[in-house]
């Protein structure tokens, strides 16, 4: 317990130093926000299209799809804020030898390597845009979600982020075994966009593939389905197991990556 408290405190310091560091470069900070606003527009564009056509897709009304898009935007805010830069910089951090000094620190190395930086600029537009989109579409639907649904929604968002973390960490860890992973890392990262529309637009087989084999659909689809009461018990259990299971597997993989590093190294 005290270890968890310690890591939380250290994380507070990580966040503080990251913010100070980012404010050192004001121009970058502002441009980061502006660029992300443009990306936010492309995400909202999808919801806009669906509204303009006014059709129901896979039983979802335009407002329901908008709620989905809002959730996806919130997830993007969380992922870019907490993990994206960290995972992206693993390959060069390892090559530069930063890992050496992390290994001697009395905190979890996985925590240190994958959560060192907190990004503040890019999540700002996404948090604001995401909250507004969710709130507006929620009230337009007149959604009367019960307490349980809301708890499930929030819980599945957090699990979705955990899943995204594990899923995107895998290609980054391959850097310990082979040097050229950049292409793979970026291609896997681009899978994120498969959540820009509900998975109902795809056929049955693609849905199954994206839920069970490469569980990208779980990230944004499951929280929203929980809110609409359309998440079957089977999917709900998978929504709990997949993130936790994958996290355990990835942590194991992280340990053997470190082992590999320490055995070869130098």
């Amino acid at each position: 317990m005290s270890e968890i408290r310690k890591h939380l405190r250290v994380y507070g310091m990580f966040a503080k130093t990251s913010l100070m560091q980012q404010l050192e470069y004001r121009a970058n900070f502002i441009i980061g926000i502006i660029t992300e606003c443009a990306w936010l527009c492309t995400k909202l564009l999808y919801a806009f299209i669906v509204h303009r056509t006014g059709v129901e897709i896979g039983g979802l009304s335009p407002d329901q799809i908008t709620l989905f898009v809002g959730t996806f935007i919130l997830l993007t805010a969380l992922y870019t804020g907490i993990f994206m830069n960290n995972l992206g910089s693993i390959p060069w951090r390892v090559r530069r030898g930063d890992l050496d000094l992390m290994l001697v620190k009395p905190i979890s190395t996985q925590f240190h390597l994958t959560m060192r930086e907190v990004e503040f600029a890019t999540p700002i537009p996404n948090i604001i845009g995401g909250v507004i989109t969710v709130a507006v579409s929620w009230s337009r639907i007149g959604l009367e979600a019960g307490f349980v649904n809301i708890v499930a929604y929030i819980l599945l968002i957090l699990l979705g982020i955990t899943l995204a973390y594990s899923f995107f960490l895998v290609p980054c860890l391959l850097t310990f075994w082979t040097v050229k992973v950049r292409a793979l890392v970026e291609i896997v990262y681009n899978c994120w966009d498969f959540n820009s529309m509900p998975m109902q637009i795809y056929g049955k087989w693609i849905q199954r593939l994206g839920v069970f084999l490469f569980p990208v659909f779980v990230i944004a689809n499951f929280p929203v389905m929980a809110l609409f009461n359309s998440l079957s018990p089977f999917y709900l259990i998978w929504g709990l197991i997949a993130p936790i299971g994958l996290f355990i597997i990835v942590s194991k993989m992280f340990n053997s990556a470190i082992k590999k590093y320490s055995s070869a190294g130098g």
Binding site: I31, T35, C41, L45, I49, V55, K180, I201
Partner: protein
């Protein structure tokens, strides 16, 4: 004649060096492919659910062709020299263009087009295959005439985009805003040029306003030709406007470059 030969050499040298960019090219192809997949399924679902066979003035076959081609066009017109130019300006690499008898714009532009020729040959092959597959699965008939036309128009689109980003890179003389701004600009121009959805989705007013901006001549116009929404003399008018924008941006870039260069020399001596 000598000048032409000089730039031709830059062009062919770049063509040979294309291999060094192959990873980036491959990545952008795959991620572009993802967007195309999402778009294809989205519109198939929308048209499947809609009672109206026409949405935003597009039939299903036209819409699918448009969004798929938009993904491909995005790759076809993509630039990439802006980072090099930014570095040239910020790191002081421009000095060599004072001593060597070669202009900066032609040097960067021809070098870039050399890389681009190889890549776009690839892009055209891939898009032919992709359109073939989609045509068969979705039962779409293409007009050969329109496809030939777009192959002729597309290089102008590429040039507009190049000149646009060249002007943007030159602003680094005044503002050191780093590469972030290029990403932002790329997203905005992609939306405004109809590179994600046809501009008709934004409504009549937006369409009327966008007519006076250069963006729609980058993607929306050539793709309107492909799907047969722009025909006859309108194609010629469109190309003339494209040429107008290329010249306008070229002149703008010259002016910006001259002013910026004065500043650069004053600052560095």
């Amino acid at each position: 004649m000598k000048a032409i030969k000089k730039y031709y050499t830059v062009y062919t040298l770049a063509m040979q060096s294309v291999m060094q960019y192959k990873t980036d090219f491959f990545i952008s192809l795959v991620s572009g492919g993802f967007t195309i997949i999402i778009q294809f399924f989205l519109w198939t679902a929308i048209y499947g659910a809609s009672e109206n066979p026409q949405l935003f003035g597009f039939e299903y076959a036209q819409m699918v062709t448009y969004v798929v081609m938009a993904g491909i066009m995005g790759k076809y017109i993509s630039t990439g020299f802006e980072y090099e130019i930014m570095e040239d300006i910020m790191e002081g690499n421009l000095n060599r263009f004072f001593v060597q008898p070669i202009g900066h714009l032609p040097y960067r532009l021809f070098g870039f087009l050399g890389v681009k020729t190889m890549e776009n040959a690839m892009v055209i092959l891939i898009s032919a295959a992709l359109l073939g597959i989609i045509g068969i699965t979705a039962g779409i008939q293409y007009s050969v005439m329109n496809i030939v036309l777009v192959l002729l128009i597309a290089p102008f689109s590429l040039l507009i985009n190049c000149m646009l980003f060249y002007c943007l890179s030159v602003t680094n003389f005044w503002l050191t805003w780093g590469w972030g701004v290029f990403n932002g600009a790329r997203v905005v121009t992609t939306i405004l040029s109809g590179g994600i959805f046809p501009l008709d989705v934004f409504g009549e007013t937006a369409l009327a306003v966008l007519k006076f901006l250069p963006f729609q001549y980058i993607v929306y116009f050539p793709l309107s030709v492909v799907v047969g929404r722009v025909t006859g003399m309108d194609v010629i008018y469109g190309v003339l406007i494209q040429i107008f924008w290329i010249i306008a941006f070229y002149l703008l870039s010259r002016v910006l470059w001259k002013i910026g260069m004065k500043r650069y020399i004053a600052a560095r001596g």
